[in-house]
Protein backbone atom coordinates (compact mmCIF):
# COMPACT_ATOMS: atom_id res chain seq x y z
CA UNK A 1 0.00 0.00 0.00
CA UNK A 2 1.30 3.44 -0.93
CA UNK A 3 1.15 6.42 1.42
CA UNK A 4 -1.56 8.05 -0.70
CA UNK A 5 -3.76 4.91 -0.52
CA UNK A 6 -4.21 4.72 3.25
CA UNK A 7 -2.50 4.24 6.59
CA UNK A 8 0.86 2.53 6.26
CA UNK A 9 2.68 1.08 9.31
CA UNK A 10 6.17 2.61 9.27
CA UNK A 11 7.68 1.69 12.66
CA UNK A 12 6.94 0.22 16.04
CA UNK A 13 6.24 3.03 18.49
CA UNK A 14 8.81 1.55 20.84
CA UNK A 15 11.53 1.75 18.18
CA UNK A 16 11.38 5.54 17.96
CA UNK A 17 12.45 6.91 21.33
CA UNK A 18 11.74 10.54 22.26
CA UNK A 19 14.26 12.88 20.68
CA UNK A 20 15.28 10.46 17.91
CA UNK A 21 14.70 9.95 14.21
CA UNK A 22 14.87 7.05 11.77
CA UNK A 23 14.57 6.63 8.04
CA UNK A 24 12.05 4.34 6.37
CA UNK A 25 10.91 3.61 2.84
CA UNK A 26 7.33 3.04 1.64
CA UNK A 27 7.09 1.72 -1.94
CA UNK A 28 10.22 3.63 -2.86
CA UNK A 29 9.32 6.87 -1.04
CA UNK A 30 11.90 7.85 1.57
CA UNK A 31 10.38 9.14 4.80
CA UNK A 32 11.72 10.28 8.14
CA UNK A 33 9.96 9.07 11.30
CA UNK A 34 10.87 11.14 14.34
CA UNK A 35 9.63 11.79 17.83
CA UNK A 36 9.97 15.15 19.55
CA UNK A 37 10.94 15.46 23.19
CA UNK A 38 7.27 15.86 24.15
CA UNK A 39 6.70 12.36 22.79
CA UNK A 40 4.77 13.18 19.62
CA UNK A 41 5.65 11.22 16.47
CA UNK A 42 6.02 12.89 13.08
CA UNK A 43 6.38 11.47 9.57
CA UNK A 44 7.72 13.63 6.75
CA UNK A 45 9.35 13.42 3.39
CA UNK A 46 12.97 12.55 4.19
CA UNK A 47 14.54 15.50 2.43
CA UNK A 48 15.98 18.77 3.66
CA UNK A 49 14.85 21.49 1.20
CA UNK A 50 18.29 23.08 1.39
CA UNK A 51 20.55 20.44 -0.18
CA UNK A 52 18.37 17.35 -0.29
CA UNK A 53 20.10 15.60 2.60
CA UNK A 54 18.03 12.92 4.33
CA UNK A 55 16.60 14.47 7.50
CA UNK A 56 16.65 11.03 9.13
CA UNK A 57 20.45 11.46 9.32
CA UNK A 58 19.87 14.57 11.43
CA UNK A 59 19.06 15.04 15.07
CA UNK A 60 16.16 16.13 17.23
CA UNK A 61 16.39 19.10 19.58
CA UNK A 62 13.25 19.71 21.62
CA UNK A 63 10.41 20.03 19.11
CA UNK A 64 12.73 20.72 16.18
CA UNK A 65 14.56 18.34 13.86
CA UNK A 66 17.87 19.58 12.48
CA UNK A 67 19.58 18.60 9.25
CA UNK A 68 23.01 17.04 9.65
CA UNK A 69 24.54 19.04 6.80
CA UNK A 70 24.06 22.66 7.82
CA UNK A 71 21.88 22.45 10.90
CA UNK A 72 18.72 23.94 9.40
CA UNK A 73 16.00 23.38 11.99
CA UNK A 74 12.36 22.57 11.30
CA UNK A 75 9.40 22.81 13.68
CA UNK A 76 6.71 20.13 14.01
CA UNK A 77 4.77 21.64 11.09
CA UNK A 78 7.81 21.16 8.83
CA UNK A 79 8.47 24.89 8.74
CA UNK A 80 12.12 25.92 8.76
CA UNK A 81 12.73 28.08 11.86
CA UNK A 82 16.46 28.50 12.12
CA UNK A 83 19.43 28.63 9.75
CA UNK A 84 22.70 28.63 11.74
CA UNK A 85 24.66 30.40 8.99
CA UNK A 86 22.14 33.28 9.21
CA UNK A 87 21.12 33.32 12.87
CA UNK A 88 19.20 36.60 12.73
CA UNK A 89 17.31 35.77 9.55
CA UNK A 90 13.51 35.59 9.68
CA UNK A 91 13.25 32.33 7.71
CA UNK A 92 10.92 32.56 4.70
CA UNK A 93 7.63 30.59 4.98
CA UNK A 94 8.42 28.87 1.70
CA UNK A 95 11.19 26.77 3.26
CA UNK A 96 9.08 23.87 4.41
CA UNK A 97 9.34 20.07 4.41
CA UNK A 98 6.30 18.16 3.07
CA UNK A 99 4.66 16.52 6.10
CA UNK A 100 2.37 13.50 6.19
CA UNK A 101 -0.40 12.59 8.59
CA UNK A 102 0.94 10.43 11.41
CA UNK A 103 -0.97 8.47 14.01
CA UNK A 104 0.03 6.07 16.76
CA UNK A 105 -2.22 3.15 17.45
CA UNK A 106 -1.76 -0.52 18.37
CA UNK A 107 1.87 0.20 19.27
CA UNK A 108 2.60 1.22 15.68
CA UNK A 109 3.35 4.56 14.01
CA UNK A 110 1.16 4.91 10.90
CA UNK A 111 1.49 7.44 8.13
CA UNK A 112 -0.57 8.52 5.13
CA UNK A 113 -0.98 11.33 2.64
CA UNK A 114 -4.63 10.43 2.07
CA UNK A 115 -7.20 12.83 3.50
CA UNK A 116 -10.03 10.76 4.92
CA UNK A 117 -9.02 7.19 5.67
CA UNK A 118 -9.56 5.09 8.75
CA UNK A 119 -7.44 2.48 10.45
CA UNK A 120 -8.72 -1.09 10.74
CA UNK A 121 -10.60 -1.64 13.97
CA UNK A 122 -8.77 -4.07 16.23
CA UNK A 123 -9.81 -5.00 19.74
CA UNK A 124 -6.88 -4.06 21.97
CA UNK A 125 -8.58 -3.31 25.26
CA UNK A 126 -5.80 -5.06 27.20
CA UNK A 127 -3.03 -3.31 25.29
CA UNK A 128 -0.31 -4.49 22.94
CA UNK A 129 3.27 -5.67 23.42
CA UNK A 130 5.79 -4.81 20.69
CA UNK A 131 8.03 -7.59 19.41
CA UNK A 132 10.05 -6.36 16.46
CA UNK A 133 10.07 -5.01 12.93
CA UNK A 134 11.20 -7.70 10.55
CA UNK A 135 12.82 -6.69 7.26
CA UNK A 136 12.54 -9.41 4.62
CA UNK A 137 14.25 -9.44 1.22
CA UNK A 138 11.07 -10.59 -0.51
CA UNK A 139 8.13 -8.94 -2.25
CA UNK A 140 4.86 -8.28 -0.43
CA UNK A 141 2.90 -10.97 -2.33
CA UNK A 142 5.22 -13.66 -1.02
CA UNK A 143 5.05 -12.24 2.49
CA UNK A 144 1.24 -12.12 2.50
CA UNK A 145 1.16 -15.69 1.14
CA UNK A 146 3.51 -16.87 3.91
CA UNK A 147 1.50 -15.08 6.59
CA UNK A 148 -1.72 -16.64 5.30
CA UNK A 149 -0.09 -20.06 5.20
CA UNK A 150 1.06 -19.56 8.81
CA UNK A 151 -2.62 -19.15 9.72
CA UNK A 152 -3.05 -15.40 9.65
CA UNK A 153 -6.74 -14.64 9.25
CA UNK A 154 -8.60 -11.36 9.00
CA UNK A 155 -6.10 -9.76 6.64
CA UNK A 156 -7.56 -6.29 6.32
CA UNK A 157 -5.44 -4.43 3.83
CA UNK A 158 -1.96 -4.47 5.34
CA UNK A 159 -2.92 -5.81 8.78
CA UNK A 160 -3.49 -9.37 9.94
CA UNK A 161 -4.14 -11.27 13.15
CA UNK A 162 -2.52 -14.61 13.83
CA UNK A 163 -3.66 -16.99 16.54
CA UNK A 164 -0.52 -18.64 17.95
CA UNK A 165 -1.46 -21.05 20.72
CA UNK A 166 -3.10 -18.90 23.39
CA UNK A 167 -1.58 -15.72 22.00
CA UNK A 168 -2.74 -13.44 19.23
CA UNK A 169 -0.20 -11.64 17.10
CA UNK A 170 -0.81 -8.42 15.25
CA UNK A 171 1.12 -8.30 11.97
CA UNK A 172 1.30 -5.04 10.02
CA UNK A 173 2.94 -5.06 6.60
CA UNK A 174 4.91 -2.20 5.05
CA UNK A 175 5.90 -2.53 1.40
CA UNK A 176 9.43 -1.12 1.09
CA UNK A 177 10.16 -2.00 -2.54
CA UNK A 178 9.16 -4.74 -4.99
CA UNK A 179 11.88 -6.94 -3.45
CA UNK A 180 11.65 -5.92 0.18
CA UNK A 181 8.94 -5.95 2.82
CA UNK A 182 8.75 -5.04 6.50
CA UNK A 183 6.48 -6.85 8.95
CA UNK A 184 5.83 -5.12 12.28
CA UNK A 185 5.09 -7.81 14.86
CA UNK A 186 3.22 -7.27 18.14
CA UNK A 187 1.45 -9.44 20.70
CA UNK A 188 -2.11 -8.48 21.62
CA UNK A 189 -2.24 -8.10 25.38
CA UNK A 190 -0.48 -6.19 28.10
CA UNK A 191 3.34 -5.99 28.41
CA UNK A 192 2.78 -6.89 32.10
CA UNK A 193 1.95 -10.38 30.83
CA UNK A 194 3.98 -10.60 27.63
CA UNK A 195 7.21 -8.72 28.30
CA UNK A 196 10.38 -10.81 28.31
CA UNK A 197 10.04 -14.49 27.42
CA UNK A 198 7.04 -14.11 25.10
CA UNK A 199 8.62 -11.20 23.23
CA UNK A 200 11.76 -13.26 22.80
CA UNK A 201 9.80 -16.29 21.66
CA UNK A 202 7.95 -14.36 18.95
CA UNK A 203 11.07 -12.45 17.89
CA UNK A 204 12.64 -15.84 17.20
CA UNK A 205 9.48 -17.01 15.47
CA UNK A 206 9.75 -13.95 13.23
CA UNK A 207 13.39 -14.77 12.43
CA UNK A 208 12.18 -18.20 11.33
CA UNK A 209 9.53 -16.67 9.10
CA UNK A 210 12.18 -14.45 7.50
CA UNK A 211 14.48 -17.43 6.98
CA UNK A 212 11.73 -19.46 5.27
CA UNK A 213 10.77 -16.57 3.00
CA UNK A 214 14.33 -15.80 1.94
CA UNK A 215 15.18 -19.48 1.55
CA UNK A 216 12.29 -19.70 -0.88
CA UNK A 217 13.88 -16.80 -2.80
CA UNK A 218 17.12 -18.72 -3.18
CA UNK A 219 15.60 -21.93 -4.53
CA UNK A 220 13.12 -20.15 -6.81
Amino acid sequence: MKLEAGWVPVALSASIEPGTSAGAVVEGSEIVVWRDNSGNAHVWEDRCPHRGMRLSFGFVRGDHIACLYHGWQYDIAGQCRYIPAHPSLEVPQTIKVPTYSAKERYGIIWATTAGEVSLPDIEVATGVTPVRSLYVERGADDVFAALTKAGTGDLIGNVGLLQAGDDRLLLAVQVVSPEKTAVHVLILGSPAVNAGAKQKHYAQWAEGLRFDLEQMAEVA
Binding site: V25, R132, A182, A195, G196, K200, A203
Partner: protein, 210 residues
Amino acid sequence: MVEITLYNYEMDEGSYRVRLLLSMLGLAHKTVAVDMFPGKEESKPAMLALNPLGTMPVLTDGDLVLHGTEAILAYLAKAYDPARCWLPEEAASFGLTTMWLHFSATALAPAVAARLQSLFDTPSDEAVLQASARKAFRIMDDHMTLRHFDGFEWFVGDGPTLADLTLFPSFALSRDYGVGHDDYPALRRWLRRFRTIDGFRTMPGIPDYH
Protein backbone atom coordinates in the same frame (compact mmCIF):
# COMPACT_ATOMS: atom_id res chain seq x y z
CA MET B 1 59.20 7.74 30.43
CA VAL B 2 57.36 4.85 28.84
CA GLU B 3 54.75 6.14 26.52
CA ILE B 4 51.92 4.62 24.52
CA THR B 5 52.18 5.50 20.84
CA LEU B 6 49.40 4.96 18.35
CA TYR B 7 50.32 4.91 14.68
CA ASN B 8 47.12 6.40 13.45
CA TYR B 9 45.22 7.28 10.29
CA GLU B 10 42.26 9.51 11.00
CA MET B 11 39.93 7.89 8.45
CA ASP B 12 40.88 4.31 9.33
CA GLU B 13 38.22 2.41 11.20
CA GLY B 14 40.68 0.24 13.13
CA SER B 15 42.62 3.32 14.26
CA TYR B 16 39.33 4.85 15.41
CA ARG B 17 38.53 1.78 17.53
CA VAL B 18 41.82 2.19 19.33
CA ARG B 19 41.36 5.96 19.68
CA LEU B 20 37.96 5.26 21.24
CA LEU B 21 39.36 2.89 23.84
CA LEU B 22 42.32 5.15 24.67
CA SER B 23 39.86 7.97 25.19
CA MET B 24 37.38 5.91 27.22
CA LEU B 25 40.21 4.62 29.43
CA GLY B 26 41.55 8.16 29.72
CA LEU B 27 45.06 7.06 28.68
CA ALA B 28 47.69 9.65 27.81
CA HIS B 29 49.38 8.71 24.56
CA LYS B 30 51.20 10.01 21.56
CA THR B 31 49.88 9.63 18.02
CA VAL B 32 51.97 9.37 14.89
CA ALA B 33 50.08 10.15 11.69
CA VAL B 34 50.47 7.52 8.97
CA ASP B 35 49.26 8.52 5.53
CA MET B 36 47.36 5.48 4.23
CA PHE B 37 45.64 7.26 1.33
CA PRO B 38 47.18 8.10 -0.98
CA GLY B 39 50.62 7.68 0.66
CA LYS B 40 50.37 3.92 1.46
CA GLU B 41 52.89 4.61 4.21
CA GLU B 42 51.68 1.60 6.20
CA SER B 43 53.23 -0.69 3.57
CA LYS B 44 56.58 1.12 3.28
CA PRO B 45 59.78 0.16 5.10
CA ALA B 46 59.44 2.49 8.10
CA MET B 47 56.06 1.02 9.07
CA LEU B 48 56.88 -2.52 7.88
CA ALA B 49 59.67 -2.50 10.46
CA LEU B 50 56.94 -2.22 13.09
CA ASN B 51 54.34 -4.38 11.37
CA PRO B 52 55.48 -6.65 8.53
CA LEU B 53 51.83 -7.22 7.58
CA GLY B 54 51.46 -3.60 6.55
CA THR B 55 48.08 -3.19 8.26
CA MET B 56 46.84 -0.39 10.46
CA PRO B 57 46.82 0.58 13.24
CA VAL B 58 49.99 -0.20 15.19
CA LEU B 59 50.47 0.47 18.88
CA THR B 60 53.66 0.55 20.88
CA ASP B 61 53.95 0.62 24.66
CA GLY B 62 57.55 0.76 25.74
CA ASP B 63 59.28 -2.11 23.92
CA LEU B 64 56.01 -3.82 23.10
CA VAL B 65 54.82 -3.51 19.48
CA LEU B 66 51.32 -4.68 18.57
CA HIS B 67 49.34 -4.82 15.35
CA GLY B 68 45.86 -6.14 14.70
CA THR B 69 43.06 -3.96 16.07
CA GLU B 70 41.50 -6.65 18.25
CA ALA B 71 44.85 -7.58 19.81
CA ILE B 72 45.57 -3.94 20.60
CA LEU B 73 42.15 -3.49 22.20
CA ALA B 74 42.55 -6.65 24.28
CA TYR B 75 46.02 -5.59 25.43
CA LEU B 76 44.94 -2.09 26.45
CA ALA B 77 41.97 -3.47 28.39
CA LYS B 78 44.13 -6.05 30.14
CA ALA B 79 46.88 -3.56 30.95
CA TYR B 80 44.94 -0.42 31.82
CA ASP B 81 41.41 -1.35 32.90
CA PRO B 82 41.89 -2.68 36.45
CA ALA B 83 38.09 -2.81 36.93
CA ARG B 84 37.97 -5.44 34.14
CA CYS B 85 34.90 -3.86 32.56
CA TRP B 86 36.07 -3.83 28.95
CA LEU B 87 37.47 -7.37 28.88
CA PRO B 88 35.59 -9.30 31.57
CA GLU B 89 37.43 -11.87 33.69
CA GLU B 90 34.54 -14.26 34.14
CA ALA B 91 34.99 -17.11 31.65
CA ALA B 92 31.67 -16.97 29.78
CA SER B 93 31.71 -13.18 29.44
CA PHE B 94 35.35 -13.32 28.36
CA GLY B 95 34.47 -15.94 25.74
CA LEU B 96 31.54 -13.91 24.43
CA THR B 97 33.58 -10.71 24.30
CA THR B 98 36.34 -12.39 22.31
CA MET B 99 33.71 -14.02 20.09
CA TRP B 100 32.50 -10.56 19.06
CA LEU B 101 36.10 -9.39 18.64
CA HIS B 102 36.54 -12.30 16.26
CA PHE B 103 33.28 -11.37 14.56
CA SER B 104 34.51 -7.84 13.96
CA ALA B 105 37.77 -9.16 12.49
CA THR B 106 36.00 -11.60 10.18
CA ALA B 107 32.29 -10.97 9.54
CA LEU B 108 32.77 -7.19 9.51
CA ALA B 109 35.86 -7.29 7.27
CA PRO B 110 33.61 -6.78 4.21
CA ALA B 111 32.08 -3.71 5.91
CA VAL B 112 35.55 -2.23 6.37
CA ALA B 113 36.44 -3.08 2.76
CA ALA B 114 33.16 -1.62 1.45
CA ARG B 115 33.91 1.68 3.16
CA LEU B 116 37.45 1.85 1.77
CA GLN B 117 36.09 1.03 -1.67
CA SER B 118 33.56 3.83 -1.38
CA LEU B 119 35.96 6.43 0.02
CA PHE B 120 39.18 5.57 -1.77
CA ASP B 121 38.06 3.44 -4.72
CA THR B 122 40.09 0.42 -3.65
CA PRO B 123 39.41 -2.52 -5.98
CA SER B 124 36.54 -4.80 -4.86
CA ASP B 125 33.01 -5.90 -5.69
CA GLU B 126 30.80 -3.30 -4.03
CA ALA B 127 27.55 -5.28 -4.21
CA VAL B 128 29.08 -8.39 -2.66
CA LEU B 129 30.68 -6.39 0.16
CA GLN B 130 27.44 -4.53 0.90
CA ALA B 131 25.49 -7.78 1.05
CA SER B 132 28.04 -9.25 3.47
CA ALA B 133 27.93 -6.13 5.64
CA ARG B 134 24.13 -6.29 5.74
CA LYS B 135 24.28 -9.94 6.74
CA ALA B 136 26.62 -9.11 9.64
CA PHE B 137 24.44 -6.18 10.78
CA ARG B 138 21.38 -8.39 10.71
CA ILE B 139 23.09 -10.90 13.00
CA MET B 140 23.96 -8.03 15.34
CA ASP B 141 20.42 -6.59 15.21
CA ASP B 142 18.81 -9.98 15.91
CA HIS B 143 21.17 -10.41 18.86
CA MET B 144 20.39 -7.00 20.32
CA THR B 145 16.64 -7.49 19.78
CA LEU B 146 16.75 -10.58 21.98
CA ARG B 147 19.13 -8.97 24.49
CA HIS B 148 16.63 -6.17 25.03
CA PHE B 149 13.94 -8.69 25.95
CA ASP B 150 16.35 -10.19 28.49
CA GLY B 151 16.74 -6.73 30.00
CA PHE B 152 20.21 -5.91 28.62
CA GLU B 153 21.29 -3.05 26.36
CA TRP B 154 24.87 -4.20 25.57
CA PHE B 155 26.28 -7.07 23.52
CA VAL B 156 27.72 -8.91 26.55
CA GLY B 157 26.78 -8.57 30.21
CA ASP B 158 25.16 -5.50 31.70
CA GLY B 159 27.66 -2.82 30.66
CA PRO B 160 29.77 -1.88 27.65
CA THR B 161 32.67 -4.20 26.77
CA LEU B 162 35.16 -4.46 23.93
CA ALA B 163 32.38 -6.29 22.07
CA ASP B 164 30.39 -3.06 21.81
CA LEU B 165 33.45 -0.95 21.15
CA THR B 166 34.77 -3.09 18.31
CA LEU B 167 31.36 -3.42 16.62
CA PHE B 168 30.30 0.21 16.94
CA PRO B 169 32.38 1.87 14.17
CA SER B 170 31.36 -0.41 11.28
CA PHE B 171 27.68 0.21 11.90
CA ALA B 172 28.07 3.90 12.75
CA LEU B 173 30.04 4.42 9.51
CA SER B 174 27.83 2.25 7.28
CA ARG B 175 26.26 5.20 5.49
CA ASP B 176 29.72 5.94 4.06
CA TYR B 177 29.17 2.97 1.78
CA GLY B 178 25.45 3.16 1.23
CA VAL B 179 24.08 0.87 3.94
CA GLY B 180 21.46 2.79 5.92
CA HIS B 181 20.23 2.21 9.46
CA ASP B 182 16.54 1.81 8.58
CA ASP B 183 16.43 -1.97 8.94
CA TYR B 184 18.21 -2.22 12.29
CA PRO B 185 16.05 -0.71 15.06
CA ALA B 186 17.87 -2.55 17.85
CA LEU B 187 21.26 -1.33 16.58
CA ARG B 188 20.00 2.26 16.33
CA ARG B 189 19.02 2.06 19.97
CA TRP B 190 22.38 0.58 20.94
CA LEU B 191 24.24 3.22 18.90
CA ARG B 192 22.61 5.97 20.96
CA ARG B 193 23.53 4.19 24.22
CA PHE B 194 27.11 3.80 23.08
CA ARG B 195 27.46 7.49 22.24
CA THR B 196 26.74 8.39 25.89
CA ILE B 197 29.74 6.47 27.30
CA ASP B 198 32.26 8.73 29.04
CA GLY B 199 35.15 9.49 26.73
CA PHE B 200 33.15 8.86 23.55
CA ARG B 201 34.59 10.68 20.57
CA THR B 202 33.59 10.95 16.95
CA MET B 203 35.48 10.65 13.66
CA PRO B 204 34.77 11.87 10.13
CA GLY B 205 31.57 10.05 9.11
CA ILE B 206 30.26 9.82 12.69
CA PRO B 207 28.67 13.18 13.37
CA ASP B 208 28.81 15.27 16.47
CA TYR B 209 25.25 16.35 17.17
CA HIS B 210 25.66 19.97 18.11
